[in-house]
């Protein structure tokens, strides 16, 4: 299939409902219950009945066949389902697959969903197998992998731990404006807080690493002709692309360049917009290094220059780039696979700017006149990269 064929999907589908559930702590709730609750809430938000759902897309760290388990739990008999597991970015690739299935007429209403109770169930949860040729050295995955990238990045570009810390400080500043954020009440972070936090895998300390929370999320997608008649502002999928170059960190071709270079280029090309056209930028920030890498790889600055871009809280609420406006995986929520939350924030900002009630933020937490958002997902150890571009109807 050449690029023109996939570009045919531009604007053909839209998200018409979204929800999160159980974010933070949800003791006494299973991952499935959290996920299914999000699906029902997202359908309520859309004003679409469960019996209309004929496409189910899901991945979790608790279910080997998540789409099938979720369909059964919901009592849905999907005409098409996909439980592809490429880590935390899975949902952004499900969105692309759902768009293809909707456009092909295989299905009419898709739900994309995720759920996790990792925090209340004891901590970080993965169903990843041990990596051959790595496992015997006992890396603390995934932290070790990101630390190896961060160390290399610092070495190649003269970046410092302070540069990384800027990312965590800005993320927290956004969280302070978002009552949904897990750290909303925790007060601001200083550079020194980040530098002096307990070391986990040098050069990354505890505050360079994402939160460990519970939480689930879901979105509802339909074809654009149907979306126009739903009760909320539809947000259109303008671009989507994925790529991955490795599974194990020891196989990553270059520790400071991710395949987001490729996914971003194709997603932006499909959308017809450029990085600087984006009103909001939602990046999968499982670790502080991610934000630097993705700002560069998606084209917001040249390689090695993101450390300048994030200085002086330039990606915080008062800055020029509206990055991870919910507080990110670092300060809002991270139940183990963060991709659908990147998506939710990209969508919520656009819906709020269009007049929908998607919750309260403190002053400056919502981006005025937001028209376009990029949502970028990462999976594995800087492995799978998936970029989605979302826009309101004016941008079609």
């Amino acid at each position: 299939m050449d690029q023109n064929d996939i570009n045919r999907l531009r604007g053909k589908t839209a998200v018409v409902g979204l929800a999160e559930s159980g974010c933070g702590l949800a003791s006494g709730w299973s991952a499935m219950e959290i996920m299914a609750s999000a699906v029902h809430d997202a359908l309520d938000d859309a004003g679409i009945k469960l019996k209309e759902v004929d496409g189910v897309f899901a991945a979790t760290a608790f279910h080997s066949m998540a789409a099938m388990s979720l369909s059964e739990y919901l009592g849905v008999k999907p005409k098409f389902a996909d439980g592809s597991q490429i880590g935390g970015s899975s949902f952004l690739s499900h969105i692309l697959t759902a768009a293809m299935a909707l456009d092909a007429g295989l299905i009419n209403v898709a739900v994309v969903a995720y759920g996790s109770n990792q925090k209340s169930a004891g901590g970080f949860k993965t169903i990843s197998e041990a990596m051959p040729y790595e496992a015997q050295y006992q890396p603390r995955m995934p932290v070790t992998a990101y630390a190896l990238s961060a160390k290399r990045y610092m070495n190649e570009f003269g970046a410092t731990r302070e540069d990384l810390a800027n990312v965590a400080v800005s993320a927290r500043d956004w969280a302070l404006l978002n009552p949904r954020a897990y750290t909303h009440q925790d007060g601001p972070l200083t550079i020194n807080d980040v530098l002096s936090a307990r070391p986990i895998v040098d050069p990354l300390g505890k505050l360079d690493c994402c939160l460990v929370t519970d939480g689930g999320a879901a979105i509802v997608m339909t074809r654009s002709d149907r979306a126009k008649d739903t009760k909320n502002t539809p947000i259109y999928l303008l671009g989507a692309a994925m790529e991955h170059h490795h599974r194990m960190i020891s196989e990553m071709p270059d520790l400071v360049q991710t395949s987001a270079i490729e996914s971003g280029k194709r997603a932006f090309s499909m959308s017809g917009y450029k990085p600087n056209d984006m009103s909001t930028i939602q990046l999968y920030d499982a670790f502080t290094i991610n934000t630097l890498l993705f700002l560069e790889d998606l084209g917001f600055c040249k390689k090695g220059e993101a450390r300048e871009l994030v200085k002086n809280n330039n990606i915080g609420p008062a800055g020029n780039l509206k990055v991870n406006t919910n507080g990110g995986g670092l300060s809002c929520v991270h139940p183990g696979m963060y991709g659908l939350f990147v998506t939710l924030e990209a969508l919520r900002q656009l819906r709020n700017a269009s007049g929908d009630d998607v919750g309260q933020r403190l002053n400056g937490g919502w981006i005025d006149n937001a028209k376009l958002s990029v949502a970028h997902g990462n999976g594995g150890v800087l492995s799978s990269q998936v970029t989605n571009i979302w826009g309101v109807s004016d941008t079609l």
Binding site: Y137, Q138, P139, L148
Partner: protein, 127 residues
């Protein structure tokens, strides 16, 4: 050509068997004259299957490094690095004989076969 694998072992097991014999072996594609790691049934990306095992020189350079913090009662901090071998491929390993947080990118290292949790393992020392 691989329909019947009975009586043979795959490249992963062959690699481990070599380690047990005290040899750090890596694969080379003969037609491309290129080394690669980790061991596979064919050259990654283009699929050539004319492979041979060659003993690695053991010379390498630190590509990146990390200090994994661990409680003293669980064994204490340890180093985990990515090493670029002189032959070209890269691998994960530990660098020992130096404080785990003192391993720096670009340092020259030399492989030896040691053991981790009772299994033979390639470990590197600073040259």
């Amino acid at each position: 050509m691989a329909e019947n694998l009975a009586g043979t072992v795959g490249p992963e097991q062959q690699f481990k068997n070599f380690l047990s014999e005290g040899k750090f072996m890596i694969q080379r594609c003969k037609s491309l004259n290129k080394f690669f790691f980790h061991p596979r049934v064919a050259f990654p990306g283009s699929g050539e299957r004319d492979l041979e095992w060659v003993e690695a020189s053991g010379n390498g350079e630190v590509y990146s490094s990390s200090c994994n913090r661990r409680l003293p009662e669980k064994g204490g901090d340890f180093n985990l690095s990515l090493i670029t071998l002189e032959e070209g491929p890269r691998m994960m390993a530990r660098v020992e004989g130096i404080d785990p947080d003192k391993v720096e990118i670009g340092q020259k290292v030399k492989a030896r076969i040691s053991s981790l949790n009772g299994e033979p393992a390639v470990i590197f020392d600073i040259v």
